[in-house]
């Protein structure tokens, strides 16, 4: 009763999600690069990429829905498909965040370039690193690697909090830089959201691999407590 065709379909689903993940990751890199060099042509790429990501989201949801309806998956397969549906949504939101950054970059074109006292590329590197690591954990079905992503979220939150504070002060002391500060603040906030999505992805990987729901700091020890039989 080996369900070869079904398990091939699960592999196809995983492959499609990874293509989507590559697109989402690239869109964040591009958006931050557009901010760094103030290049609107890169913003256009981000916007087009976001539309492609949206199409991909629908396609992956459809594949997952078909498998749920036709194959009635159980246990690890069921958890995998649920994880894919949720990761899919998070990746789409990563694409939205890239679009937010690209919109801010367009807005900034109306104002003189100004050096901001915060390190956007550093926040982007950390958030991007979390996305990459959570997806690597997904590729390798590695719950330990996914756990490591969860512990990275704090540093991005701190950087974003500090950026918030710094830019607020800048707006007070130099109101002429308020538009640039506000846009930088929104970009920092968008990157912090990307890190949150990476955290969600990591939690979904843990759910898939171990069957444990570790969201909101509860249920970390849920897996592996069954009453075994005699064999």
């Amino acid at each position: 009763m080996a369900r070869i065709r079904f398990h091939q379909s699960l592999d196809d689903l995983k492959e499609r999600l990874l293509v989507m993940a590559g697109m989402a990751e690239q869109s964040i890199q591009r958006a931050v690069e557009a901010y760094r060099v103030r290049d609107l042509s890169i913003c256009d790429l981000v916007d087009r990429g976001e539309m492609a990501i949206n199409r991909m989201e629908r396609e992956i949801d459809q594949m997952a829905l078909d498998l749920l309806a036709m194959e009635q998956p159980m246990a690890v397969d069921l958890r995998f498909i649920l994880a894919v549906i949720k990761i899919n949504a998070d990746l789409e939101r990563v694409g939205d965040s890239a679009r937010t950054i690209s919109d801010r970059v367009r807005d900034l074109q109306a104002f003189p370039a100004a050096e901001m006292p915060i390190d956007i590329p550093r926040i982007a590197n950390l958030a991007g690193g979390m996305v990459r690591k959570s997806l690597q954990a997904f590729i390798e079905a590695d719950a330990d690697m996914a756990e490591a992503v969860l512990s990275m979220d704090d540093s991005v939150d701190k950087l974003n909090g500090a950026a918030h504070y710094t830019l607020l002060n800048l707006m007070k002391t130099d109101p002429a830089l308020a538009p640039q500060s506000l846009n930088a603040l929104m970009i920092s906030r968008a990157l912090e959201r990307v890190a949150d999505h990476a955290t969600n992805i990591a939690e979904d990987v843990i759910f898939w691999v171990k069957g444990a729901d570790v969201r909101h700091n509860v249920g970390a020890a849920a897996a592996g407590n069954s009453q075994r039989g005699n064999a």
Binding site: A2, R3, A75, V76, D77, G224, R228, N230
Partner: protein, 252 residues
């Protein structure tokens, strides 16, 4: 009311074939417990040991302990009494073909010496109602034979016949596998209702069915009980790799 079943170190053989190996499990009262596993894994043999049907085969042998409501059914009571307390429904509906609907349901009571017409009428009525068949057959009780009913109705008739002798446990060996989806849904609804009064053990190849009707599920493989846990756990996150391989179709 239903009673719990305690099975301790149960072993069963057909000739030299050791079909059940050291099974220990506790089936709670007033719940449905599903038994799953590939063909030949021992799950049907297991339920047949629960009402001493297994020993009706001359080459069969059983050792170990089966306590139903605290009473060892192999040591403390007769096989006939055991089968009254523990009713059984099989894969293919098997009403007595020449008997009317009424006589089918009353057969067990008559066999046990009940002759009072009022009592029989009452039990037949209640049993058919419990089996969700009364409304469909009440006008033809003595006119139609059991065999004239549809497959799904015949199966519910067999359930009514089992309920008529007031059992504590109902064993069901693939009760819906020969039925269409509508009849299957009726049997599943019925299992749900019967749980409040009886302990139900159901053998099924249909894993979705096990997931729908049972609180607990046991997975058998090669004569052994691999895992026994809440149905939720078995179908979302089983503890044993072999269970997971079976229910996700990674076997063979």
């Amino acid at each position: 009311m239903g009673v719990g079943i305690e099975v301790n170190s149960l072993n069963a053989w057909y000739g030299a074939n050791h079909t059940l190996q050291d099974i220990t499990l506790h089936i709670p009262a007033n719940e449905a417990t599903a038994l799953i596993g590939p063909s030949g894994c021992g799950k049907s043999t297991f339920v047949r040991c629960l009402n001493r049907m297994h020993e009706t085969n001359p080459i069969a042998k059983v050792t170990g302990e089966v306590k139903v409501g605290g009473q060892d059914i192999y040591a403390e009571t007769s096989a006939v009494e055991v089968r009254r307390r523990i009713g059984m429904v099989f894969q293919r509906p098997n009403p007595f073909p020449t008997m009317s609907i009424y006589d089918n349901v009353a057969s067990g009571l008559r066999l046990n010496g009940f002759r009072n017409r009022r009592v029989l009428d009452d039990v037949v009525h209640k049993s058919l109602e419990s089996a969700a068949l009364w409304d469909e057959v009440k006008d033809d009780l003595k006119k139609k034979s059991g065999a004239s009913l549809s497959g799904g109705q015949q199966q519910r008739l067999c359930i009514a016949r089992a309920l008529a002798v007031d059992p504590e446990v109902l064993l069901m060996d693939e009760p819906a596998s020969a039925l269409d989806p509508v009849s299957t849904a009726k049997i599943e609804d019925l299992i749900f209702q019967l749980k409040s009064q009886y302990t139900i053990v159901i053998v099924t190849h249909n894993m979705q069915q096990a997931a729908r009707v049972a609180e607990r599920t046991g997975f058998f493989l090669n004569g052994k009980l691999v895992e026994f846990d809440s149905t939720h756990k078995i179908f979302t996150n089983p503890g044993d790799k072999r269970t997971e391989d079976y229910i996700t179709g990674r076997f063979g």
